[in-house]
Symmetry: D2
Subunit: 247 residues, 4 copies
Amino acid sequence: MKPLRVVVWGENVHEHKHPTVAKVYPNGMHTVIADALKASGDDVEVSTATLQEPDHGLTTERLAQTDVLTWWGHMAHGEVKDEIVSRVQKRVLEGMGLIVLHSGHYSKIFKRLLGTTCSLTWREADERERIWVCNPGHPIAAGIDTCFELDREEMYGEPFGIPAPEEQVFISWFEGGEVFRSGCCWRRGNGKIFYFRPGHETFPTYYHPMVQRVIANAVRWARPEGVWIDACPNIKEPREEIQPKEV
Amino acid sequence: MKPLRVVVWGENVHEHKHPTVAKVYPNGMHTVIADALKASGDDVEVSTATLQEPDHGLTTERLAQTDVLTWWGHMAHGEVKDEIVSRVQKRVLEGMGLIVLHSGHYSKIFKRLLGTTCSLTWREADERERIWVCNPGHPIAAGIDTCFELDREEMYGEPFGIPAPEEQVFISWFEGGEVFRSGCCWRRGNGKIFYFRPGHETFPTYYHPMVQRVIANAVRWARPEGVWIDACPNIKEPREEIQPKEV
Amino acid sequence: MKPLRVVVWGENVHEHKHPTVAKVYPNGMHTVIADALKASGDDVEVSTATLQEPDHGLTTERLAQTDVLTWWGHMAHGEVKDEIVSRVQKRVLEGMGLIVLHSGHYSKIFKRLLGTTCSLTWREADERERIWVCNPGHPIAAGIDTCFELDREEMYGEPFGIPAPEEQVFISWFEGGEVFRSGCCWRRGNGKIFYFRPGHETFPTYYHPMVQRVIANAVRWARPEGVWIDACPNIKEPREEIQPKEV
Amino acid sequence: MKPLRVVVWGENVHEHKHPTVAKVYPNGMHTVIADALKASGDDVEVSTATLQEPDHGLTTERLAQTDVLTWWGHMAHGEVKDEIVSRVQKRVLEGMGLIVLHSGHYSKIFKRLLGTTCSLTWREADERERIWVCNPGHPIAAGIDTCFELDREEMYGEPFGIPAPEEQVFISWFEGGEVFRSGCCWRRGNGKIFYFRPGHETFPTYYHPMVQRVIANAVRWARPEGVWIDACPNIKEPREEIQPKEV
């Protein structure tokens, strides 16, 4: 099989504005995620793209060469140009995989593909999150034990305003008493979409080996299996003879 | 039960531009659809709205008083203001039902809620369509025999670029040799969405008793069963005590 | 609307074998559930049936007069006759609603309709369960706040061996650290199926007003909306002429 | 990747009872299907099993070594032992793929996994079937044009008594006027299930290159992606401390 071409997209704003975040991710969250993916196997080719690049680093040409895109954004969702969102959506519908991370639940692209509010409840209180596997045989859960823990995370709680997931891979337990559908799969067109909850910018979540493992599994799960270049063709020639009708 | 408040939305452009259409629907397609719904029972309160009205007839106040909206549009999809589309989407997610008719498959609101291309193949050849019931017990198929025929219709064919329907109510057979998923259900948020294929503007499809019956069934099926006014609240107080963490 | 005819089915064995259970439910769990449903409104007609009755109380005639069946079983799943299971399944596929409670996850009828193992993890440790609403607009969650608590319950944990729920209404948080998909909806044929987790026999769970409210909501949600008496008919007469083929 | 181990199961009764069938499939339908799969690539290892073998050729040991099972049966569904059906079901839930062909819609294993009647309408009239692709990017449709035709087939028509397919790959058009959901995907546990309609025993359907291509695609699509050996473990040790409760 050809290597899987993954682009790790990072909003890359918190890292420059908030010293706490810069300390945890001095070269940006996207770099840590990309490095982990590179280390996960020779079967992936990983690069990064950020909001600040021309076209947010997502030109038509580059997207055409991308198999799976991962997306982390938060405070600058509104700065992502609608034209680029449409471009990404088109590629997902054709077959490109999309892995949406944490606060990406409110990204334009996630809401565009799901059609719902994607809202949730939240709390920043340095609390323990325990992520449970709902299907130990799912490829995104490969190598993950029955559960794993993040000692300090932001809480996301239900209700989560999403269409019913086609597959539920993870659900989170929070120390403060909430639960959340932390790992959810959908298909839109030929693209596979996976949402994965952890990843608050002030915590070293993306250095956690189990978080890295899940993302590494997810990009491989989201590999395009086929492409449909969509159109709305006028089929002038019928396959069967059409009888003239009396009007 | 309180009467179901239905708004029948019509693009209302073909009827004024194309004499053929004006002849079939002198007062607009929306009027014929609305009249049929009014005649379908005392449990519905029906009114109409069109593209040409201020806010396309869909002010925030009116939508707040609407239980189910039906949508027919075609040549002027692009003239529907994005702001109104967002307003309708918000109400659907809260719980309002939406019945999308025929060429409404390419309306902004349908694509917005489904997230996919919603494309299909098509042919205008005055051909016979036979609409088969996939589930004789489905409320939208109540009173419909195993199938019914429309003697002259536009053809819509697969592939239809939609997420997998949650319920398949009808599938069409076409004289020229194609098939199409003609009656499809989805939920987005608390809103129920039904797509119903027939209704080309040059044919008297909306006068057909079985087509009228399906639409009458569908608006009742789409009655809101609950409302969720969405937010993204910060839950400062945890339900359980959170232990201080070492950093 | 005609009253909804509900049959509350109880295995009715623990109550006679285990003094602890008999103390909590001296007339059986089914009686408490039935009484709560009777008190929930005049729109329901409630009766009970138990394992010990002829045909387990579920004759063909009675099932034909039943709109919604609730099911609690545990230690005697194996004593339920396959013939009766097939009879119940047939009625569900025709349109009867089915509410499966707690340890009913391992009942023959639930496994028969879902096709999966329906397994889970569990612990009896008198721990707190907090049941979160995943969709505040869902009719089964009507009148339920964002969550409610059961002070002492058995724990059920993920993975839960079910097909992806078509709607996720509740997810549980457990004091001991687990999570569970506590309220799940599916359709099979024309029957609506709801699984609701709480209800360990040694605790007074079915006296809890929120648990009673959920069950009262669920039976109304599961009301049949149509009936399909299934067959596999030979359609000798085609609708269109079939051309003779060369062999 | 390791070769995919495919077992082609054939009921193998019609071929011995009906001269017409014996003429078309002198060595059995299963042989033709298996030969086509063998010719489809070196990445598959194909063998056959039949009703008449001990354990119907499906011992626990053999199933443990099987990645994907294809199933054709018709007149002898009732002779398949329930014990073997349970064994196959267990393996599917663990992760084995299952391809159900034509009259296999009424097999015990298909009904067991789907939970519904799986009924349909039918007609034997040597009529043309045209199979349309609903998603040109789906791996099961790879190499298939927009549609393909079978000149003479049995008709299967809607309603088809199945749970809503998770993916709709094909829909059939019939010369006599019917339609049918001809290619449907579901997951049960970790097993992928694909139903494919064509294959009446009196016609040379399984020699058709497009039918062979679909089956070859389908077994590869159904490759296990993970395994879950299910249990219902008692988790005695909680992850979090449980407070003693007042009784």
